[in-house]
């Protein structure tokens, strides 16, 4: 699949403007926003190339509890209906095997046992959805000591399953800052040939001095610099998506970021 373009994460506040055709080439949707109202997807699917992005499959959670199988089935139904070009979720857990719901992404302990488990989950997911699957690196609030480095873990997962990566450059940047690491050097440790999608967003530094991936600020210059660095290695990139949740600007304002990302990726910035 060749590069399809730069897009935005869909937010309901922009729906009318998007349906009027003012949007980017690619739209990223959270499928659970459409579980109760799948028909609302149709009009968007007619106008835009879609990628699906979930935060709730908790792929790292041991076993596969019934609620997660049910969620996968709901997502598969939406995929069959609108044929997104890519599906992604995170290298993380959002619940325990016994049923405690964290409501947010938690770092997983990156061990060989988890690799074994995750390989099975990803293969099953690819079979169930019938579209390419990519896993995203999270902005980890901390790292559970004693596991593999994330880049090595993802490289092994790619090798075992053939899945892709959704490389969130802002997560990478903020995690590197919080750990005192060099983000540009760290970027080169990832299996860049497997990157299918990129996320860009903006965060802030909280009162304790910790960088938080809040999706509430414009994309930083340093994230764009990482995107420029990625050009050499990410030969299989399909889409770049800019995420914004809080302090949501008008669609036209976000389209300026889309345009900047496009120019950086094409090397014309």
């Amino acid at each position: 699949m060749s590069f399809l373009g730069v897009g935005l994460s869909y937010r309901r506040a922009h729906r009318e403007a998007l349906l009027a055709g003012a949007g980017p080439r690619v739209l990223e949707l959270l499928p659970d926003h459409f579980f109760a109202e799948p028909e609302a997807l149709e009009a968007l699917a007619e106008r835009y190339t879609l990628v699906f992005h979930d935060v709730g499959l908790s792929l790292a959670t041991a076993g596969e509890p019934s609620e997660l199988r049910a969620r996968r089935a709901r997502i598969a139904a939406l995929v069959a209906r609108t044929r997104p070009v890519l599906f992604s979720d995170h290298l993380a857990l959002t619940r325990s095997p016994g049923g405690i719901d964290l409501g947010h992404l938690a770092p997983a302990w990156l061990t060989p046992a988890l690799l074994e488990h995750l390989s099975r989950r990803v293969c099953a997911l690819q079979d169930a959805l019938g579209v390419p699957v990519a896993l995203e690196n999270i902005a980890a609030p901390f790292v559970i000591p004693g596991g593999m480095p994330e880049a090595e873990f993802l490289a092994r997962l790619v090798e075992r399953t053939g899945c892709g990566l959704l490389l969130d450059l802002t997560n990478l940047l903020l995690s590197a800052r919080n750990e005192g690491a060099d983000a540009r050097r760290r970027l080169q440790e990832y299996p860049l040939h497997a990157v299918r999608q990129v996320h860009l967003a903006g965060g802030f530094r909280d009162r304790r001095g910790v960088w938080v991936d809040s999706h509430s600020e414009p994309v930083e210059d340093e994230s764009y610099a990482l995107l420029a660095d990625l050009r050499l290695g990410a030969t299989g990139l399909v889409a770049i998506v800019i995420e914004r949740d809080d302090k949501l600007p008008e669609l036209a304002q976000l389209m300026l970021d889309v345009e900047r990302a496009r120019r950086v990726w094409e090397g014309t910035a």
Partner: protein, 191 residues
Amino acid sequence: MLAAFQEAFVALAADAAARRCFARDAAAYLAGFELDEAERAALCAIPREQLESYARSLVAKRWGELARVVPLSLRVAPSLRERHRAWALEHPARVRDDVLSPGAAEGLRALAPLCARLTAHEGEAPYAADLLAFEVLRAASGEDGLPRSLRSRFALAELAERVARGLLPIDPELAPTELRFERERVSWRPA
């Protein structure tokens, strides 16, 4: 064992009682799970401050999601935020198998305990608990289409309208009402 490790880890992140127990005696806490030496060492090596900070952020996120579906209740009972925080710290959320948004799901989880606390406190408006139930049930039925009902001592739909207009009735007349929520529709009749 992967499952046991994750159970112990998630409990630490989601349950203040588990963190207190862990801080008091980590070995005793971890003895409740089937873990090997490396797993116990990994959990003990997680920086405590970062874990605590993460745990607080989870509770704040639960509140943030709930606050989106109960804006009127929050006007009537600003204490709701702190009441929810105190409850959520000690009560990890259980997974639900439904199509509800995180806010409506958290509302259903927290409804009974928050209503009990609002009702028990004399300083709260007498209709605060019922208004909370009104907003949560309306949001849930609006999302999943399932019918739900509520019995109140007050004409809640009217009260909700007045609060939405910026009025905060202090001592509204009693008007027992039965309400029914079905998709976007709310109907009511005298009880």
